[in-house]
Symmetry: C2
Subunit: 292 residues, 2 copies
């Protein structure tokens, strides 16, 4: 923690101090590739604010003077330099014009373990094969909004720290704790040993409805297991769950987008938890209806 | 209705019979611009199938031989020619390589009226200011999957027949009846006169929860009023509703994406409708969990 923000004016797009932000869309050089620089990039005031409040420690920021002023209350939380540049210089560095006007770059910290993210969690989302960055980001946004405490990745999931995933998550990929399963699907047994009821989301009409399952499990720890677009959960993983649950759907339609199906599960959990009890999960600052 | 499909082989990308599909991504010439050719374009086997089953009558199809075979059971429903071409010729015509391998083009039919789409509807989604094609498409997909009978557009909504909206909707923008409000927000009164309870979705913590409202209204006609990303519903529109309802959310998070918030409302309606009654809205063919 420090006092005044560390502002450095830059007007040369070739300045090597800006390399963390260079060629942001380049397929093979982009700084958020895990195989390259492995940085985490936050874009826009809101997501940068969330990075500054997270376990991801920014090592540099690049932005306009206007965004510097908008971040005035947040920058004292970091010692990283704020490279102040014009929108034109920024566009030359990153390779395109960025409306959001500000970026922050953080090295990837050590990954959390399953034990760590499970420790205080009541509700966990467990993903298998969710390999689309936008869906992954949406799952984090929905998890944050609807009271999910952690996300666990089984096999085949995309990188939640890819720039697009972080952006679509509204920065919640940096705030909702997540862990990669080290032994899949055996880790589902580990979760069960820790008191979690593991529910596999499925289109199978023989499954119990989400509402029925949630009514019964309102006092329990719950893990929602959600599968890939296309194939859904593997049969092996499905068999490792405690129970299969489904969302009641109209006849003859496709199943829902994976992030939407997950949101319905999260919602149902909150609804049952809050029905007639004093511990509704907060409504003082925001609740649904529109996209900010 | 006819018998064998009307297959026409084409190997010249400049063939004027393919003009309905030319320059599909061109900003000013794309055929799905309402101000230009005003066509509705379906992409991919599933969406083309839905167009052929809809009130949108295809006047031409363009696709590979493989997709022709996949559509064998559907093509007898149309007299339109199927222009069979190689993937390379298709790419030259439309301007990029289309993995989905088949397109259909239909003229825009007359728009339906509010009276027409209201007539047999129990649940209606009413949108204001939803100007993002992807969100609009997602609303239609969620509406179809979660038992919504019609969509009504207030001011400021994007074109649901734009190619991207149709694609994201999985073709349901062609199947779920919709109407543009001719008098906004006065049409909300018309809906009320027809027995609809108009519920405005809002982040306002003083609003009643969705679950409470649905429990009370299980026998009634319901219209869910959902606002734009960013500003939400206008105050004027909000005041034209019967009641404000909210989704219980976690403290300190953003509100949800507009299509996700709508999905939660639709889900809650189906949940209450189906709880303990014999008329659950179908689970024989599909239900949630993954994205096909």
């Amino acid at each position: 923690m420090t006092g005044l923000p560390n502002v450095v004016d830059v007007d040369d797009p070739a300045d090597p101090r800006l390399d963390d932000f260079r060629d942001l869309n380049s397929i093979d050089r982009r700084p958020d590739l895990p195989t390259g620089k492995g940085l985490v990039i936050a874009e826009g005031v809101l997501v940068v604010q969330r990075m500054l409040a997270s376990r991801f420690h920014a090592r540099a920021l690049l932005g306009t003077d206007r965004r510097l002023r908008e971040l005035a209350d947040d920058l004292p939380a970091t010692t990283a330099p704020y490279f102040r540049a014009s929108a034109e210089v920024m566009a030359e560095v990153i390779g395109f014009h960025l409306n959001r006007g500000v970026l922050a770059a953080a090295p990837r910290p050590r990954e959390l373990t399953l034990d760590e993210v499970m420790a205080d969690a009541r509700t966990v989302a467990v993903l298998e094969g969710v390999n689309d960055h936008e869906n992954l980001g949406s799952v984090f946004r929905n998890a944050a909004g609807l009271g999910v405490d952690a996300v666990v990745f089984g096999t085949g999931c995309a990188d939640p720290l890819y720039r697009r995933a972080v952006r679509v998550s509204m920065g919640h990929a940096l705030l909702v704790p997540y862990a990669w399963s080290a032994a899949w699907p055996a880790d589902l047994n580990t979760m069960r040993d820790n008191g979690f009821r593991v529910l596999a989301m499925t289109p199978n009409p023989a499954a119990r409805t989400l509402a029925e399952a949630m009514d019964e499990l309102s006092g329990a720890r719950v893990a929602f297991l959600v599968g890939a677009e296309g194939p859904g959960l593997s049969e092996h993983t499905m068999r490792s769950s405690d129970e299969r649950v489904r969302i009641p759907m109209s006849r003859g339609t496709d199943s829902l987008n994976v992030a939407t199906a997950a949101a319905l599960a999260f919602y149902e959990r909150v609804r049952v938890d809050s029905a007639g009890t004093p511990h509704e999960r907060g409504s003082s600052e925001a609740s649904g209806g529109s996209d900010r």
